[in-house]
């Protein structure tokens, strides 16, 4: 149902907002959804989702320069980032790290990548034909084109429709994943890890897998972001980027699929609007919104709106309310 509603919205939005901005909003939404999946449903508080986003972007740029076309480069970007997440995840989950340490380590990994990528100026830092370029990043790589036809570039409006379509697809896949046994068990692990291992589930392996899936979605968003910006820089790994993803999820409401998507799109758009004026500092406004949401809508926008909706339609049979509640929690 949600996907069916998303299609007309995605088609109508270009009449209101320009597609260049919409493209990046769709990408942010996908990135937020990846953290929403890992954190909201898996209970894994990852402060470093930006790491996988950035690796996806770099992976695409490096891949595209070396291969000279975009389809395989997309696959390379997602696979490289997911492999990195699988190794990092296995180390953390098999090492039985507590939640706080996990948050710290993922954040530190992101910052290490930021420092490292910033210091890669010069001829010594090349991967194949691609120079990593230090703080200036990698510009001028081949952007997305129709598979098999390197001269048919996908850009402008077409890139927006592609990103929107991928976002809808990812939303559907995430929904399928969450209603599968794997997804339900992941939620069980979020609720009570010890109990789930007492039932015989290998919590470590399952968390590692979920973490990797989340990273793959973030990397996909990163690769698309590289195509949108046509340059990748170390700022992708910056503290601001890491923090923003978490803020999107908190504002939108985690534990829902729509929350992070709407949180990212609305906060992203607000940031864009605020960027056009110089009266108020936009990080100040973002911070204020975060504090207000945490104080007054502790579960985030979407769960609060869903609650209002339920209250307005009191005739909804009790069973449906229960089911919806299960979806949200």
């Amino acid at each position: 149902m949600m996907a069916a509603a998303a299609v007309p919205i995605a088609l109508l939005l270009p009449y209101v907002i320009d597609t260049y901005t919409l493209t990046v909003l769709a990408i942010y939404a996908m990135l937020a959804l990846s953290l929403g999946l890992v954190w909201g449903y898996g209970g894994i508080l990852c402060f470093g989702q930006a790491a996988f986003f950035g690796l996806g972007a770099y992976g695409y740029a490096v891949g595209a320069i070396n291969i000279g076309e975009s389809t395989i480069a997309m696959v390379v970007a997602v696979a490289a980032s997911a492999a990195f997440a699988a190794i990092l995840g296995a180390m953390m989950f098999y090492g039985r790290l507590g939640d706080v340490y996990l948050a710290i380590i993922t954040l530190v990994v992101t910052l290490i990548l930021y420092r490292f990528m910033s210091s890669t100026a010069g001829d010594a830092y090349v991967i194949g034909k691609a120079r990593l370029g230090g703080f200036n990043g990698i510009p001028g790589f081949p952007t997305l084109h129709v598979p098999g036809d390197p001269s048919a570039y996908i850009w402008g409006d077409a890139l927006y429709y592609l990103c929107a379509a991928i976002l809808v697809l990812v939303l559907i896949l995430v929904k399928l994943l969450l209603s599968s046994g794997f997804g339900r068990i992941a939620v069980g692990i979020r609720e009570n890890e010890t109990r789930m291992s007492l039932l015989g589930y290998d919590v470590r392996a399952r968390k590692t897998l979920l973490f990797t899936i989340g990273a793959a979605v973030a990397a996909l968003a990163g690769a698309l972001f590289a195509n949108w910006g046509e340059i990748v820089t170390p700022r992708l790994f910056g503290l601001t980027q890491s923090a923003e993803i978490i803020i999107w999820c908190i504002v939108g409401g985690f534990g829902t699929r729509l929350g992070p998507v709407l949180g990212a799109a609305s906060m992203g758009y607000l940031k864009f609007l605020l960027g056009q004026q110089s009266l108020i500092d936009n990080t100040l406004v973002m911070g204020l919104i975060l504090i207000l949401v945490v104080l007054f809508l502790p579960r985030g926008l979407v769960p609060a709106l869903a609650g209002l909706w339920d209250a307005a339609w009191q005739r909804v049979p009790a069973r449906r309310v229960q089911r919806r509640r299960r979806d949200l929690v």
Binding site: G181, V187, G188, R190, R195, L198, L199, G200, R319, Q322
Partner: protein
Amino acid sequence: MSDIVLETSGLSRHFGGVAALDNVDFSLRARELRCLIGPNGAGKSTFFNCLTGLLRPSDGHIFMRGEETTGWPVHRIASLGVGIKTQVPSVMDGLTVRENIWLSASRHHRQTDHAERRTDEIIARLSLGPISHNLLGRLAHGERQQVEFGLVMTGDPWLVLLDEPAAGMSPEDMVRISEILRELNDTAAMIIVEHDMQFIRSIASRITVFHQGRVLVEDDVERVMSNPTVRDVYLGRTA
């Protein structure tokens, strides 16, 4: 004997310089019901946690149905068909009763419809029908305990390990729990760590008394109760 399902030899666990568990030899036959008692710090919970895999023993061996399980992680031990209930109710509070039971059922039934059927069975057996769509976090203590028994029961265990199942229960809950225990005991051997002597009497069984990390006495409930050494260490000299 061939019907021994659980055996430990020389099981020890040290915390720093303290031997919480000191060289314990223990064995349990199929469908036996055994209670572990002892004063605080006697080592019964440490023993329990070593069996479940929540703690790794410092020394000694554990065998379950002839297979050595020493140092196995919890989920592997549980996968053998061991049902475990810890002291504090450990359930998925944010999920419904049905989803909780389903999570246990799906561990043992790969196919979705089998898991659903098993879930319905258990809900009917524990008469949880009226509350099956309620969130567990909103239920009373006794009901949550009962759901946790449901989680244990769903896996058809051949060995059940329970840490203080009667703690904080009302008398009515207690009656229901002893019924469930008896039913489980028809097919499973059972180890129960318990403080409540009345409850132990009501399920009448063999008792192992722990004291200072060792097994002090092992005998039938009445004989243990009248044993003067046990009275000294456990019930206190004035009792």
